[in-house]
């Protein structure tokens, strides 16, 4: 049998590491809650998109939001850093507390919220600028005082495990990078403003399996410094990387006939995947619907 290609061998090793990650000890409840979603409903105009969600998201943990399409998981994710404010008609009801403070309270600046709670999107969206300027953008616009921007850019790229691949082409366009590299650049760009929480909205949806594994590996490395909340369609991914998993589904209102997203179950990932409390979770996990 021929020797497997190096990247395949690496991928297998990464997979093994991930398995060890997945089996790490997670306390029954988050020790420190960074984001507290307290009976939150989100509307688009008159339409109730997701209702009565309560979640305590733990600091330095990776939390996965899973569920079928249209179940409101991305809506909840975008509510966590007030990105939903940008959609006309979107309205969040009920407090979302960041370290105990309601981020939707009057007087709170959404710009400040987004600086502390960054976001990585489904499709890699580097700016049409050089790799260097992509990273330096956040610190520049937020007026961060950094000693040397060159060192700072290097740090951010190193944390995102991209430095070695791009150090010789920092001044070249970010569009020359592969999809996986672009996504890691977007993660580096988010890290560069020193956020507390990183939201990821299906960050691997447009990537190949090897690039996906690299992102997952990176998430595990970043967990010690940041809190990561990830929406994913890929249940294996949730099982591999997440400490806790929240399962959402869409329920049809018997009176109005409208579909509303709701949270079914939120627990340790091992619990959700091995012995879910709700039969709907079990049905989704075992692939019976969704």
């Amino acid at each position: 049998m021929p020797e497997p290609m190096p990247q395949v061998r690496d991928a297998i090793e990464t997979e093994l590491q991930h398995h060890q990650q997945a089996t790490r000890e997670v306390p029954d409840h988050p020790e420190r809650t960074v984001l507290e979603v307290d009976d939150v409903s989100v509307y688009y105009g008159d339409y109730l998109a997701v209702r009565n969600v309560s979640l305590d998201l733990g600091h330095n943990e990776i939390t996965a939001l899973i569920g079928p399409s249209g179940c409101g998981k991305s809506t909840i994710l975008r509510s966590l850093n007030r990105m939903n404010d940008l959609i006309t008609g979107a309205r969040v009801e009920g407090p979302i507390r960041y370290w105990g403070q309601d981020m939707y309270a009057p007087g709170i600046d959404p710009i400040e919220v987004r600086r502390r709670i960054g976001m990585v999107f489904q499709k890699p969206n580097p700016f049409p600028k050089s790799i260097y300027d992509n990273i330096a953008y956040g610190p520049r616009v937020t007026g961060m005082q950094v000693g040397s921007m060159d060192d700072y850019v290097e740090q951010a790229l190193t944390k995102a495990a991209l430095w070695d691949e791009v150090k010789d082409k920092l001044r070249q366009s970010a569009y020359g990078l592969s999809g996986g590299q672009q996504q890691r650049l977007c993660i580096a760009r988010t890290i560069a403003v020193q956020p507390d929480v990183i939201l990821m909205d299906e960050p691997c949806a447009s990537l190949d399996p090897i690039a996906t594994l690299r992102i997952e590996e990176l998430m595990a490395e970043l967990r010690d410094q940041y809190t990561i909340i990830i929406v994913t369609h890929n249940m294996q991914q949730a099982a591999r990387v997440a400490d806790r998993t929240a399962f959402f589904t869409a329920a049809i209102d018997p009176v109005t006939g409208e579909r509303h997203g709701e949270l079914v179950e939120y627990d340790k990932t091992t619990k959700i995947f091995e012995s879910p409390a709700d039969s709907r979770t079990e049905g989704y996990i075992s692939g019976r619907f969704g």
Binding site: M83, M119, F121, N125, P126, F127, G138, T142, R189, V193
Partner: protein
């Protein structure tokens, strides 16, 4: 038309032998006739343009010389040149650009990025801008005339007056093309910027506008090249004058190339008609150059996202 081999059974049921008769239904008499019509339409347009260009070229070639650029208008055709008109055109178009580009881009950015489309007045403005681009050019001349009178300027044939008329004329073109360019910038880029804590204003300045710049430049150049060839609003402002000096400021009297061409063609002597043809070639060359630049920018900086 085609002959099918009758299928016998089972797996052969859906198999047929393709006809080899050589007759294709892609070329029926109707479709051939239709193609001929299309070609004829194209030919008429193309031949007319070619004849016009060649005729002008043949007429004007003798006077597309140095004197056209250096000479002043004169009653003697062999001495006359378009120097004040060329400089006047540059002055007016330059001023038009200074007036129309910032205003048009800012208006477009506001409508596209900040205006709440649910408000009726914003929708009204949008409809009006589309309609403005269909307003006859001479109306803008009257508008500029009115504007000058309103601010108490007696002298109407001045650079700034002409520029106001032309700026208003091309403002809808600039606004519409800028809006399209801004709209073509993907939502994800703005989201990426906002997600690192940039303000909407920073996002517009540093991400959206630079990304939309090729489209904005293309639309602006096309608008300016239209203004360059426009005579009607300037005629209304009294641009048809005999000037023997170079325009030297915003309040200077001026004439432009289209007006100069118009005035020469109105002369009885054939020599002036030759001169007009020469100046026309120059004007066409300029407009072609500008449109070429617009196409180049559009292709060179084609969106890469």
């Amino acid at each position: 038309m085609s002959t099918y081999t009758p299928a016998t059974s089972g797996a052969d049921a859906r198999r047929a032998v393709l006809s080899t008769s050589g007759r294709s239904r892609e070329q029926t008499p109707q479709s051939v006739l239709f193609m001929i019509l299309l070609w004829l339409s194209l030919l008429i347009g193309f031949v007319t343009l070619a004849v016009l260009l060649i005729d002008t070229f043949a007429d004007g070639l003798t006077r597309l010389d140095g004197r056209l650029f250096t000479g002043y208008p004169s009653s003697r055709a062999e001495e006359a040149g378009a120097r004040p008109a060329i400089l006047g055109s540059l002055w007016v178009i330059g001023t038009t650009a200074v007036l129309a580009v910032p205003l048009g881009v800012a208006a477009a950015v506001h409508l596209e990025e900040f205006a709440d489309r649910k408000r009726w007045w914003n929708r009204l403005i949008e409809i009006n801008i589309s309609n403005l681009s269909a307003v006859p050019a001479i109306i803008y001349g009257m508008l500029a005339l009115g504007t000058l009178a309103l601010v108490g300027v007696q002298q109407k044939n001045i650079v700034i007056g002409g520029a106001i008329a032309l700026a208003m004329l091309i403002l809808p073109v600039i606004i519409i093309s800028t809006r399209e360019a801004v709209r073509a910038v993907p939502r994800e880029l703005r989201d990426g910027s906002l997600a690192v804590g940039a303000t909407p204003l920073q996002t517009t300045w540093r991400i959206t506008l630079p990304a939309a710049m090729p489209g904005i430049a293309t639309g602006t150049i096309l608008g300016l090249s239209r203004a360059l060839g426009e005579a009607a609003p300037l005629l209304l402002l009294g641009g048809l004058v005999f000037l023997r000096f170079d325009p030297n400021g915003l309040l200077s009297q001026f004439t432009t190339m289209p007006i100069q061409i118009f005035s020469w063609t109105a002369q009885p002597q054939a020599e002036f008609h030759t001169l007009a043809a020469g100046a026309s070639m120059l004007l066409m060359g300029l407009v072609l150059l500008m449109n070429g630049a617009a196409i180049y920018i559009r292709n060179r900086y084609q969106k890469r996202w």
